[in-house]
């Protein structure tokens, strides 16, 4: 047996946007085992639900994650609205869909940039983030914040986008779609990129399912599961199919995300075409009493919010299962047997968001 060494990877590492620590057990250049440890940035946001009332907590929920903030806030609202039996107006639901997809586009572009950086393609990273900045401008124009949208609230939405605003979004999306196409063509067709990704970190369909992978990690392995198909908000009125790839390697996970970018643009177009006129919110009266599991699709996968209320204005318990937490298991699996040089790429393929995970 060759000698085993342990290489600590993280919590501070140039490729890691956020702190996760991995102990890599090595045999020569091969990783035999990866032992993850998380908990460096635990903030106790779930406990805070006992101090902030159920309407106020939306601000906290949005700040669980800095990238998929809107969907966190929306999922929390969906849970409370379901407990309180609130009927959210149609227009608000459609606006929620538009903003959700905006945040998906910006998250995926951010990921593409980080991913390109992880395999050493720095100019591609710059280009991805250049386009992302344009998407952030649309978000800031419509909601007032770049990443913390602050536009979702219990019972509806805070801000409206008028007709002219929707037209501008469509026009801008057309421009950005072309730019995204140019960038993503490099990811899909460039031979050096392919060389780094194809066949690296294969997660089979069975493994992905058994280990409870979610989101693009799961769909890249050929399991067609997308929580948007549950039809929350206005997704029930929108035509789309979950995007899947069968090979289950890093390339497949990348391609799934790239295709989702275009799918998101398509969903925004459909939503803008179908959006009805009407009120933006319903009045919230009384306090919630009951419990509910809200499940939505984030850019990184399925997020679960469990909310339990007891008739006071403070929720009794809130539990958040974030997509990265579910994807740590599959990550440890794909790291087994990989080369040390591929570790950064593989860690990035699950699109880790550690701040979410540790809440």
């Amino acid at each position: 047996m060759t000698k085993r060494t342990i290489i600590p990877f993280g919590p501070q590492h140039p490729v890691l946007p956020e702190p996760i620590h991995l102990d890599l057990v090595m045999e020569d250049e091969k990783v035999v085992q990866a032992i993850p440890s998380i908990g460096f940035i635990h903030r106790g946001l779930e406990k805070l639900v006992e101090k902030k009332d159920f309407v106020e907590y939306v601000y906290v929920a949005e700040r669980i994650c800095g990238i998929c903030s809107f969907i966190h806030g929306m999922t929390y609202c969906l849970a409370v609205e379901e407990i309180m039996k609130l009927e959210v107006p149609e227009r608000a639901s459609y606006l929620r869909v538009i903003w959700s997809e905006m945040s998906r586009i910006h998250s995926h572009l951010l990921w593409l940039g980080l991913f390109a950086d992880s395999f050493g393609f720095e100019s591609l990273f710059m280009h991805s983030w250049r386009v992302r900045e344009g998407i952030l401008d649309i978000i800031e124009e419509t909601t007032g914040g770049r990443v913390i949208f602050g536009s979702c609230k219990v019972g509806g939405v805070r801000k409206d986008i008028d007709k002219a605003g929707l037209e501008i979004i469509l026009k801008k999306l057309e421009k950005y779609e072309k730019e995204i196409k140019e960038i993503t063509d490099v990811f899909i067709n460039d031979s050096t990129v392919k060389h780094r990704l194809i066949g690296v970190g294969i997660l089979t369909k069975e493994e992905a399912y058994a280990l409870g992978a979610v989101g693009p990690t799961l769909r890249g392995s050929g399991v067609s599961q997308d929580m948007r198909k549950l039809g929350y908000a206005a997704y029930k009125n929108i035509n789309f199919e979950p995007i899947t790839e069968t090979s289950g390697d890093s390339y497949a996970r990348c391609v799934v995300r790239i295709k989702e970018l275009f799918q998101s643009i398509d969903i925004i177009r459909q939503a803008i075409a179908k959006i009805p006129e009407g009120p933006l919110e319903v009045k919230v009266t009384g306090t919630p009493n009951g419990e509910y599991f809200a499940r939505t699709e984030q850019p990184r996968g399925e997020v679960v919010y469990y909310a339990k209320a007891n008739g006071t204005k403070f929720l009794q318990r809130l539990r958040v299962r974030t997509p990265t937490f579910a994807n740590v298991g599959p990550l440890v699996k794909v790291l087994q047997g990989c080369e040390l040089a591929d570790v950064p790429v593989l860690v990035l393929t699950i699109d880790p968001c550690i701040s979410c995970t540790e809440r």
């Binding site: 106020e56 100019s123 124009e141 909601t143 007032g144 602050g150 805070r158 801000k159 140019e182």
Partner: protein, 107 residues
């Protein structure tokens, strides 16, 4: 890829040379909270609605105080204000070397 490279060569920088070039804020950008203190009726609804406890209203002294470093520019106070004397500017507050609170006194 060649097309992108050629484009990048003759393109202007995608970034703004801040602070020499101006940073354009959008109309809806959530920035600093301002108060028209003479309109204020000191109802302290904003204080109750503020999720970070940045606002302190003192009825006896007739003062309205905000800690700009606690404020997260969420706009909850602006929505709650019955007299609409609070507003969110689309510019951020200036940086400073001291963490000072801003005090407004009712005339």
């Amino acid at each position: 890829m060649t097309k992108t490279i050629l484009k990048s060569l003759c393109m202007k920088p995608a970034t703004v040379k801040y602070p020499f070039g101006p940073r354009e804020y959008h109309k809806r950008t959530r920035g600093k909270v301002f108060i028209d203190v003479d309109q204020c009726i000191l109802c302290s609804l904003c204080q109750r609605k503020c999720p970070t406890g940045a606002i302190v209203v003192n009825r006896n002294d007739k003062t309205w105080e905000i800690d700009p470093y606690r404020c997260i520019s969420c706009g909850a106070c602006v929505e709650a204000c019955p007299k609409k004397c609070l507003r969110l500017d689309n510019k951020y507050s200036k940086t400073s070397t001291k963490k000072e609170k801003e005090l407004f006194r009712h005339a």
